[in-house]
Each structure stands twice: as C-alpha cells, then as structure tokens.
Symmetry: C2
Subunit: 210 residues, 2 copies
DNA sequence: TAGATTGTTAATCGATTAACAATC
DNA sequence: TAGATTGTTAATCGATTAACAATC
C-alpha cells in the first residue's frame, strides 16, 4: 500500500463497497473501470487510481473481478474482523441505532448500553440492558470494546468521549453535533446530521450554484 | 457573492454556524480569524477566504462580530426561512427523526408522514398521523412541501424519490444507503451512516495513516 | 497614531483527469 | 494475434496556505 492514503480516497472506499455489493446481487462477474464509472459517477481514471493505491486488482483486457474486488475492499476497510461496540445515550436516535439489527449481522455487536435517564436504565434493547452511564468506565475496563458510539446531547458528549478514551476504545462514532477533542491516536467518525440538512438547504436556496 | 462556491466551502458553513452559536452562548462579542482558527481547526487563512466568498464581514484590527456573522451565515444557508418537510419510512430511524422536536423549532416542520407498513399507518407521531405511502403524491400535490426525507429501505428509496420529484419537492434528505438518481435541479443531501462507520473502521485498522 | 487584523493576490500543495505504454 | 483495459506517469485543475498592502 502507498504510504499515506488521503481521506478523499478512504471516504470513497465504502462507496465502492456499496456498488460492488449491488453488482454481486445482479450476478455481474467482472466490470471495467469505464462501466463502473458510468454507474458510480466517478471518472474511470479516478477509480483506477483509487484502487491502485492498494494493489493491482484488475486485469488488462478484462477489468475487475467483482467478487474478488469486493473481498479486497472489505479487507482494506477492516470489515473482515468483528468490532464490539457500546452506545451511550438511548434517546430516539440511540434506540434507533441500538435496534438496528443489521449492525450485529455486519459484525458490529453492541455489547453495552448506557444512559443517565432513570426512565431508560433497566430497559432492554436487543437483549442488552441499559445501564447507568456511571458504570461506563468500569464496563470498558472489564470488557474488550472497540468502538464507542455517542448519541448523547451535545452537552454530555465530550465528557463521555473522555471516558471512552480512558476506557481504551479504539475509535469513536459520534452523532452529537460537536467536534470531539480526543488524542490523535483515536479516530473519530462523526455524523453531523443537521449539518447535512443545512448544506441541503443551501443548495435549495442557491440553485444556480449547481 | 462569487460566481460558484465549491462544495468544500458550503460544507464548512454549517461548521462555522455551530461554532458561532457556541461563541454566542459564551457571550463572546467579536473574534479574529486567528482565534476562531484555534477553536475550529481550520487555518485562519481559510476562514478569511471562506467568508470573503460571501462578503467582507470583518473589520480590520477588530475581527468579526460574532452575532452579525452568525446572522449572515444563517442567511447564506437559507436558515432565515421555514421549510416544510414530509418523511417517508417510519422505522426506527424515521421515528427518531420525526420525534426530534428540535427540527420543528429550527423552522423545519414535518407536515406529513408516510409508510407502507400497516402496523405504522394510523400511528400518531408529534400530532401527525402516519399515512399510507400510496397517498404521498396526492399529498405533495395538495400541500406545499419543500423537503422530502427518505428513511425507507434501500429497495424502496428510489421509487419514493421519483414520487417526491414528481410531487415537486425542492430537495431530498436521504438516509437510505444508496445514491439516488434525480434531475440535476433537485439537490439531494445524503447521510450515509454506515459509510461513516466503515471509514472509521479503516482508520482503526490503519493507525499509521493518521 | 500604532497595532491589529482583515481582504485579497500570489504561491503552493494535493487531488483529479488525461494519456499511453504495458499486458492480458 | 488484435482488442480491450489496466497500471502508472505526466498534465491539469482546484483548493489551501502564505504573504502583505489596505484599513480600522
């Protein structure tokens, strides 16, 4: 692999993954960068560049074998492992994620759930009982947890992130509307839902802007 | 305003907005691009460039007036208007969004809710009754709807998007894990939740990559 | 006024696209 | 083999950063 892969490339990998999954469903065996370009909307050149960051997965005159490439991309993305998760904040959004059984099937089991709301503590979601957030650090120290999910309020989020880091999570998946401050070694993936609504509205208000 | 604002800039506007909101809460009256840079993590140069796409909001020797700039950015983002929305798909995620009363307060009322699941049809969420998705086009033709929210399955999403376009929505806020095909005049803001988890895992698996 | 800080031009950096020799 | 298509280098484009004159 090249020394440093840019975020632009990394963020396209899940997109390739989605389209390849679709191609598998359609029973397509192999595909050229040109045909993939037509579907996915990136240039064929970019597709070849992106993939070649990780190795020569194609074959001249033939293109890319769909299943092989799908497997490669899964492996590059680290999706051939399992990642245990905990979720803190079981309001509407937290419960939606906690109920989303697809994550379990994808190899992302949620093994701990935490909230400060006494009405939620004790509630069982997907067989896991919601605990008091006070127990978070203890739980992290006695269980191997790879990813911490934050679906708390903006106000609570930073302190939960601190606890997750202290507890040794390897990454944080953040849904609270702020930018968390964590040590550089801990990657954070943030889903700024409201930001995307704001950008969408910008494009509605400024239609000339394309 | 400059002729064409790049998406990179547009996507930073909601970030400026969030930080300015924070500054207002803290009672900060004015701020230099340098100090804002320290907080937000963009370079001071980039901040000045970004803002100057839309006008000279600062004052030499003083910086930017926080409240004025906040108001300007809201106006640029089009957040000084109201946008009516409908939501299609009231599973876990759809219900989480529909229950999120903050959107109502922000000027984004959800005025129609639709699903195909008979168990959900008739359910009331925030005083709105979930209707059969069959009624979607009719509803759109008899109500002014600015934004369509799609929280259906991947399989249903494209056909719902088509109906929304036919019904005259001005933009689509998509949470289904696919790239919708719509006429170029209709902006789509997609929240690819699972893609962000995949990218996060990439960074966990490749820690040298920064 | 002197100091601070913007607005804006120029320089740099990085990402995307084009081109084509290599090769299946 | 001939045709197709990759892998990869070079060219272009656009975004970010640096620099500094303008100005409050």
């Amino acid at each position: 692999m090249k020394n440093k892969i840019s975020d632009a490339v990394v963020n396209r990998l899940p997109v390739y993954r989605r389209y390849l999954e679709e191609l598998i469903d359609e029973g397509v065996e192999h595909i050229s960068s040109n045909e993939l370009s037509r579907r996915i909307g990136f240039t064929a050149s970019q597709i070849r560049q992106d993939l070649n960051n990780f190795g020569g997965f194609g074959q001249q005159g033939y293109g890319y074998n769909v299943e092989d490439l799908y497997r490669e991309i899964n492996s590059i993305l680290g999706l051939d492992h399992e990642y245990s998760m905990v979720i803190v904040g079981l309001g509407n959004l937290g419960q939606a994620i906690a109920n989303h059984t697809r994550y379990y099937k994808m190899g992302f089991p949620i093994i701990g759930m935490f909230d400060i709301n006494p009405k939620l503590i004790g509630l069982k979601i997907n067989d896991i009982e919601v605990q008091d957030s006070e127990n978070l650090v203890d739980f992290l120290k006695t269980h191997k947890v790879d990813i911490g999910i934050i679906t708390t309020t903006k106000e609570a989020a930073q302190s939960i992130a601190d606890k997750m880091v202290e507890g040794g999570v390897k990454g944080i998946w953040n849904f609270a509307p702020l930018d968390l401050k964590v040590p550089k070694r801990i990657p954070v993936g943030s889903v700024h839902v409201t930001d995307t609504l704001n950008s969408l509205v910008y494009h509605i208000v400024h239609p000339d802007q394309g």
